[in-house]
């Protein structure tokens, strides 16, 4: 409730071409409208990132399903969440049970390893070893 009260104490309004952020009757920010729009975008972006952390568990679970199915899109670009989702996609027992290996496409690799040739030569007789 205290947090809510603090949030309610912050008000945003405009005066002419400027945008004011007022807390407890004092102007915290006094911005031109362009800056206010830029700030709102930055706040939105950071808010979404913070939300991502708050919902990490659900995002990892959903991303793990997507990864295990081999779908070529993701729901997060956060490297730590992707790493955990990758582990779950490979090893989570429920996912392995309900999306068995035959259905788990994964993300196909385009790498190709060549096929070499092994040539075995006869052993060198002991008498010739000195002249190898």
């Amino acid at each position: 409730m205290e947090l809510l009260a603090q949030q309610q104490a912050v008000r945003v309004r405009h005066e002419g071409t400027r945008v004011l952020v007022i807390k407890d009757g004092r102007a915290l920010l006094d911005l031109p409208w362009q800056a206010a729009l830029d700030l709102s975008k930055a706040l939105h972006a950071q808010g979404k990132r913070a939300e991502e952390i708050d919902r990490a568990k659900a995002i990892i679970a959903d991303q793990a399903i997507i990864t295990r199915l081999g779908l070529r899109f993701g729901i997060t670009s956060h490297p730590l969440l992707l790493r955990e989702a990758g582990k779950d996609a490979a090893w989570d027992s429920k996912l392995r049970r309900y999306i068995p290996a035959a259905k788990a496409m994964g993300i196909a690799s385009q790498t190709i390893v060549g096929a070499p040739q092994l040539i075995q030569y006869p052993p060198v007789p002991a008498a010739q070893e000195g002249i190898r």
Partner: protein, 135 residues
């Protein structure tokens, strides 16, 4: 299985943790003692010592053109020991087996499996477009 890069190496490619300019070698692996797993093995210590029949010297004349890794053919001298079914390429530069990254697994090659007879064995890399491997 089939020829493949180790999953751990593919991940390392994204973080530049394995430098193929390092000392890269191959080891002949006897599957009777240990079968490499490209999905879970990541370092040399994951391949049992008893399974390592012979190890090459460092690859020479390495090239990395357009994501294709190539090197001079490798000769293992006077190879003895158990028959082996695959070759594993790894980075031999780190100091301990627990940090030597596994790179590629090759079990499809003309001449495999091979039973050593005490003579030299030359590994001629694929002369097609893929060479040792292509990313």
């Amino acid at each position: 299985m089939a020829n493949a890069l180790f999953d751990s190496y593919r991940s390392q490619c994204l973080t530049a943790d394995v430098d193929l300019d390092d000392s890269i070698v191959l080891v002949c692996v006897d599957h009777a003692d240990d079968t490499p797993n490209v999905a879970s093995d990541d370092f040399l210590d994951d391949i049992a010592g008893a399974a390592r029949v012979a190890t090459s010297g460092a690859f020479a004349s390495k090239t990395f053109t357009a994501g294709v890794f190539d090197a001079a053919d490798v000769t293992l001298t006077s190879v003895t020991g158990d028959p082996f079914e695959s070759l594993v390429i790894y980075n031999n530069t780190p100091g301990t087996e627990a940090t030597k990254d596994l790179i590629a697994f090759i079990d499809t090659a003309t001449g495999l499996p091979t039973t050593p007879n005490g003579g030299d064995i030359t590994v001629q890399w694929d002369n097609g477009a893929n060479r040792i491997f292509k990313l």
